[in-house]
């Protein structure tokens, strides 16, 4: 598998093809349903976001609580399509990488093409294994949302496949 460090260069992004396996390292932000709703409302209200979306990566995950000095509990992907109503706006505001599982809407695909973004997919129901790739975690915002809070993760060699590349090719449609 190809090793990549976030944020990627434009050349790296353009070189990626749907279906390719990669090991990602770098900073990612956790956000799922409730956090997306809030981020989207903040954008609509012109408020400053709790983290910089420029070149950012969001991982759709709501982990279990951390135990015994571990940075995080079980931490596999949740279904990305529930975030579809909010995602084009986030991409428009700088988001470039997403990690999740499952299909995306045509609107998300179009935004990915337009902004050279990349959608990565990882393995659902493998949260114990994936938690080993998370080396550090820091609370960023919406602590009241518990598992749905926005946190900053530092991940190392996080296993993914390119789900939708910047040309709009989709791993779920390949033959």
């Amino acid at each position: 598998m190809k090793k990549l460090t976030l944020p990627l260069s434009m050349e790296e992004r353009r070189g990626l093809r749907a279906g390719e396996g990669v090991l990602l390292s770098g900073t990612v932000y956790t956000a799922r349903d409730a956090a997306h709703k809030r981020l989207h409302e903040m954008i609509l209200n012109g408020e400053e976001l709790p983290f910089d979306l420029h070149e950012a990566c969001i991982y759709y995950v709501g982990p279990t609580p951390a135990t015994q000095g571990r940075p995080i509990g079980s931490a596999g992907p949740t279904t990305s399509s529930r975030m579809d109503p909010y995602t084009p706006e986030l991409i428009h505001h700088g988001l470039r990488y997403m990690i999740g599982k499952g299909r995306r809407s045509e609107e998300v695909k179009e935004a990915i093409r337009q902004y050279d973004a990349i959608y990565f997919v990882t393995v659902g129901g493998a949260g114990a294994l994936l938690s080993h790739c998370v080396k550090k975690r820091r609370m960023v915002a919406f602590e009241d949302l518990l598992a749905e809070a926005v946190t900053e993760l530092y991940v190392e060699d996080f296993p993914c496949y390119v789900g939708i590349d910047r040309y709009g090719n989709d791993i779920y449609d390949e033959e």
Partner: protein, 283 residues
């Protein structure tokens, strides 16, 4: 009439608490075996995903990290013998207390919101569990628990089929539901199918079907044959592990049936991801 047996409801609490841990951390042996078998016939990428699931299960058990971060909403099917008299408080509250303690003590994810539509505020302890109670003969209490993840629950469906739809109608509905579930519901699936009863009864049957160990078939040979046929057709869809293509879209299809009305044939499909967690508590 049998002699009345008194059961202090507090007996339930540690049993439910431990069942919550067990379900979150221990992958069923039947699922492990089914995945091992499935990997033999898979393409390279699908095999590597199945291997990762097996590796994940080992890490989960040895390090006591939940198999999946969605540790589910608890569903309890309680059969209470009619000769049982509960003492020491409320049966329902004791059951909820067991869930509360289990999710707190073993750092499982609180995934339940109090109001479904407006506030959606997390109850912070994964309660309330959904409780179905039936009265049976005897003096035993048996509680089958499930910790159901919602990636797959969201893709489940009910159809009010008609008698004329027949076996073909059931097959079409199951395949349509699986196609719609696709990669989002975390295949390989275990698929529970309920046929007959009423609108709500077939849905309950489809969920109860998920409790059956995978090596067991429906006791009626016709339904057992339909289970095999459905599995074959589901796997011919090519969705594969995690939707990344392959021949293992489901590990098993399990049907439960019951009497129904002359005018209908309700059918429910309860999709479960490969993390099909259930446990049984008997007092």
């Amino acid at each position: 009439m049998g002699k009345i047996r008194e059961i202090d409801v507090s007996e339930l609490i540690p049993l439910i608490r431990n069942a919550c841990r067990e379900m979150a951390m221990e992958y069923g042996c039947d699922i492990r075996d089914a995945i091992r078998q499935a990997r033999e016939t898979e393409n390279e990428r699908a095999r590597s995903i199945l291997d990762l699931l097996l590796q994940n299960a080992e890490i989960a058990t040895s390090e006591q990290i939940p198999i999946c971060q969605d540790t589910g909403m608890i569903i309890a099917f309680a059969s209470v013998g009619q000769d049982v008299h509960f003492t020491g408080g409320s049966f329902q509250q004791a059951l909820q207390e067991g869930v509360r303690q289990g999710y707190h003590d073993f750092a499982l994810r609180a995934s339940v919101v109090a109001d479904p539509l407006y506030d959606r505020i997390n109850t912070k302890d994964n309660t309330p569990a959904v409780i179905h109670t039936e009265i049976t003969e005897g003096d035993k209490v048996q509680i089958s628990l499930m910790a159901k993840g919602f990636g797959s629950e969201n893709k489940s469906a009910v159809a009010m089929l008609t008698p004329a739809d027949g076996e073909k109608g059931v097959i079409r509905f199951v395949l349509d539901t699986v196609k719609k579930a696709g990669p989002n519901a975390c295949p390989p699936f275990i698929i529970g199918v309920g046929i007959g009863g009423t609108f709500e009864a077939c849905a309950l049957l489809s969920k109860k079907a998920l409790l059956r160990p995978l090596q067991e078939k429906n006791s009626d040979v016709r339904y057992a044959a339909l289970e095999d046929r459905l599995l074959q057709e589901v796997n011919a869809l090519g969705i594969g592990p995690q939707g990344l293509h392959g021949v293992t879209t489901a590990l098993k299809v399990q049907i439960e049936q019951m009497p129904t009305h002359i005018a209908g044939m309700p059918c429910a499909v309860n999709i479960c991801c490969h993390v099909c967690r259930h446990a049984k508590v008997v007092i």
